[in-house]
Symmetry: C2
Subunit: 256 residues, 2 copies
């Protein structure tokens, strides 16, 4: 069980042998004290605005199949989105898609700073420590973040099923993402696209910029349409499909 | 006094109003337990290989004059260089310039990992927390690291007195450094150069890549020749010369 006052990064299989480090920063829709529900009803707390439904299940399935370390977050992204800088309007949004977030309106600077200190800073410190440890042990990480997206956004259906996104800070940053995409095309029937349903230009690679880019680590952000991973069985099935995709992409990286 | 088992980042004036955040990651030549002297004699422990002599004094003088936050390190760079990635040969060097570091030879992986966990990870977590807090409070940082360099390196004199270095990850990363250089030329008699006595290509911008680049923060690494800041009086004098340089560079940044 989660200590409700401990919002550090959760680390599973810290000493796993794979170079892949899986990250699921939108794993949780927990709204613990001192913040509580932020004024959201039960439906909104379950919705994709609060977390990435299914992503943690897929990430755990991948961690088991790849024998990889997994780092995930223990609270809802609406308390502080760990994939947004603290000064981004998206970090503690007052509105997400078409839902107001009452508990994020009119936040005093000290309240916002307290969330950064309680949630954002410890999560990133924990992930950074995992990466630093694996670097010094010669297990140079390949960072793979696992996300899900809603099949309909502002009324428009999204046909893509599997998106692979890379950061754009440096030209070589696309290498691992392209290898994952090529493997997904070759090995799965998924409708897969590069930098879809959004891209680094939409500010979605903050975590990769913090943790992968400074060390020149290969990386990819996986985006799975959440209707494909709605229950335990489909999450396990998706992990079963994607684990060999990541293995092939790792082999391509070594061969490059 | 420093708790000998607490190697966290030291933070002075955390709530100072200036946007400048000063960092001195090579501030200390302390060799505390559990590592001790690494087999170095007293002269080597005092030498520039162990720390940046004079840099902390200048940084404190700048912090006082600019009313700025200062973050500095409590242990020698030879235990773990905080401006090198954990997997860099320079992080725990076996030789520095012409001096062997016996305590860094033949380090077991677990010993190296323990240094990363005790020194590297907490320092960077502390600095990251300072930056995140100031971001959310609207005090978007300008990161200024303060270093010193030896006037003679492998027998060759270094004529430059004041170097201003920027990271090279993105084209716009040179903006603040160029403003500092222009102000130094206009306002001081110092022999000042850009990206001297070394540059980002020499792996010296690791800290900037971790903390400035992901947030797009303006930044500069200041390098002062250490014979110019050998005692308290000359450190204060240098801070008095450089504080208005940084103030002018901040103004140039706002005007750009």
């Amino acid at each position: 069980m989660t200590d409700q006052h401990d919002f550090a990064a959760r680390v599973e299989q810290p000493d796993a042998p794979s170079r892949i480090v899986l990250v699921c920063e939108h794993a949780s829709n927990a709204f613990p004290p001192p913040w509580g529900t932020l004024g959201l009803d039960a439906a909104a707390q379950q919705a994709h605005i609060a977390w990435d439904p299914g992503a943690l299940g897929v990430a755990r399935g991948l961690a088991a199949r790849l024998d990889a370390c997994l780092v995930h977050a223990p609270v809802s992204r609406l308390i502080h989105d760990l994939n947004r800088a603290p000064d981004s309007p998206g970090a503690m949004p007052v509105r997400s898609e078409n839902i107001d977030i009452p508990g994020n309106c009119g936040l005093a600077p000290a309240e916002a700073a307290a969330r950064v200190a309680a949630v954002y800073a410890p999560f990133h410190a924990g992930l950074a420590a995992v990466i630093a440890r694996r670097l010094v042990l010669g297990l140079r990480p390949v960072l793979v973040t696992v996300h899900s997206f809603t099949p309909v956004w502002h009324g428009a259906p999204r046909p893509v099923e599997f998106g692979v996104i890379h950061d754009d800070t440096r030209p070589e940053d696309d290498r691992f993402a392209r290898a994952v995409l090529a493997a997904a095309w070759a090995m799965t029937g998924l409708r897969a696209e590069l930098n879809a349903p959004y891209s680094a230009a939409d500010e979605v690679t903050h975590l990769l910029r913090l943790h992968a880019v400074p060390y020149g680590l290969p990386h990819a952000m996986l985006e799975i349409r959440n209707d494909l991973i709605a229950d335990d069985a489909s999450q396990a099935e998706m992990a079963e499909r994607l684990a060999p995709v990541l293995t092939r992409a790792m082999a391509a990286l070594r061969g490059a």
